[in-house]
Symmetry: C2
Subunit: 232 residues, 2 copies
């Protein structure tokens, strides 16, 4: 199959950091392993990649099988390739993060044979030990998201289509891990001109209902990405 240099054969895999935002909490999706090594421990969803599958395709497939979602914002962020990271042999893994709207998911299907269940964990309350080097993968990926949210409009991938400014601000606060000033936050966001105000309001709340907004991709595309900084 590989006419090049057969003595250099390695296994590689994809691992996915799947972020979701729900009820003011930022969460990631973990699976509970049903196989050695690290049986019964929680791990990032991932899978070995076959010879005949592109890595981005593999990442999308894993996400789809687990959540039923397609066309999701996702990107690779790092490769973990130390020799001893997998106890059973050399496995290089390409780490991806994905940002999804939790409320768009009907149910989780941990279809891989490796997993007995899947569940959302608040990022501040992860299991103490994760399988393999998945804790380092999480740390590195979360760091990337933190940086990215300051200059790209990725927050909108995590929110429902229609959201209030308070929701948006909460998300920034959770990711950046600091309080932001309400007035300044709103002024800045609205000034960008990338939010479309809707004729709709929150429903079912026992206080003054907030206006809802939608992210306006067309207007955003007109601006140079690098000219904006979010959430400072």
């Amino acid at each position: 199959m590989n006419p090049i240099l057969p003595q250099f054969e390695s296994v590689f895999s994809i691992d996915c950091l799947i972020f979701g935002f729900d009820e003011g909490e930022l969460k990631i999706l973990l699976i509970e392993r049903n196989e050695e090594p690290f049986k019964d421990l929680w791990a990032l969803p991932g899978y070995l990649v076959g010879n005949d599958e592109g890595i981005s395709h593999a990442a999308e497939r894993i996400l789809y099988e687990l959540t039923g979602l397609r066309d999701i914002f996702m990107d690779q962020f790092y490769v973990f390739g130390e020799v001893d990271r997998h106890p059973q042999g050399r496995v290089v893994t390409v780490a991806y993060y994905a940002l999804i709207r939790i409320n768009g998911i009907k149910d989780l299907k941990p279809v891989t044979s490796f997993a007995k269940s899947a569940s959302w964990y608040n990022i501040n309350n992860l299991p103490e030990i994760l399988a393999f080097d998945h804790r380092s993968i999480f740390d590195k990926g979360f760091e990337k998201i933190k940086q990215k949210i300051s200059y790209e409009p990725i927050a909108f991938e995590l929110l429902p289509e229609k959201f209030s400014l308070t929701q948006l601000q909460n998300l920034y606060e959770v990711i950046l891990n600091k309080k932001l000033d309400k007035r300044n936050f709103r002024k800045k966001m609205l000034n960008y001109g990338i939010l479309k105000e809707l004729d709709e309001k929150e429903k079912g709340v026992s206080y003054r209902a907030a206006k809802l907004y939608r992210f306006d991709r067309r207007k955003y595309a007109k601006l140079f990405k690098n000219e904006l900084t979010f959430g400072k």
Copy 2:
């Protein structure tokens, strides 16, 4: 050797974008292939990685063998893993960039059997066709560098230990591909307080000699990385 799932065996490699700055030009190092596929074409320096070698180690090794340099600023920036990117089989490649001081190199040694020569190319004047998907790798990597130079002090990795402000500004201009205002650039750079003014001046120039500076890593470390933006 690999007890996991032998049907999933793949080959992976490292490819390096090695940047250097010399006489006002930003350059990368290419090798001329001496083997099929793509014999006689220019390519990024790279190599297959063995089962028993970590990927970061492999990247450092390749750079050392080619340039004789160690302890170089380098980082991975993307994985190219499409199935058909290598005509002879599935090869996933991890792309690294490295920033080096050209004038610290005695001579290039294209020690790999794949290469018959190595040479520096101005990034605006690369060979029209590069081997494999190396043109895409270059494009992606150069984009990263561009972004990175705006919020991390990577420019100093490309300059000699002692440099003038004009040299520094030229480097920013070449990477960002735009003219910067001399007074504003100097004011901003000096304000950061991360440059140490030396008691030395340029030599051998037929005009007023410029003061030389050194990057002060200690002072830089005291500031939060993310608080600075360079070259805007």
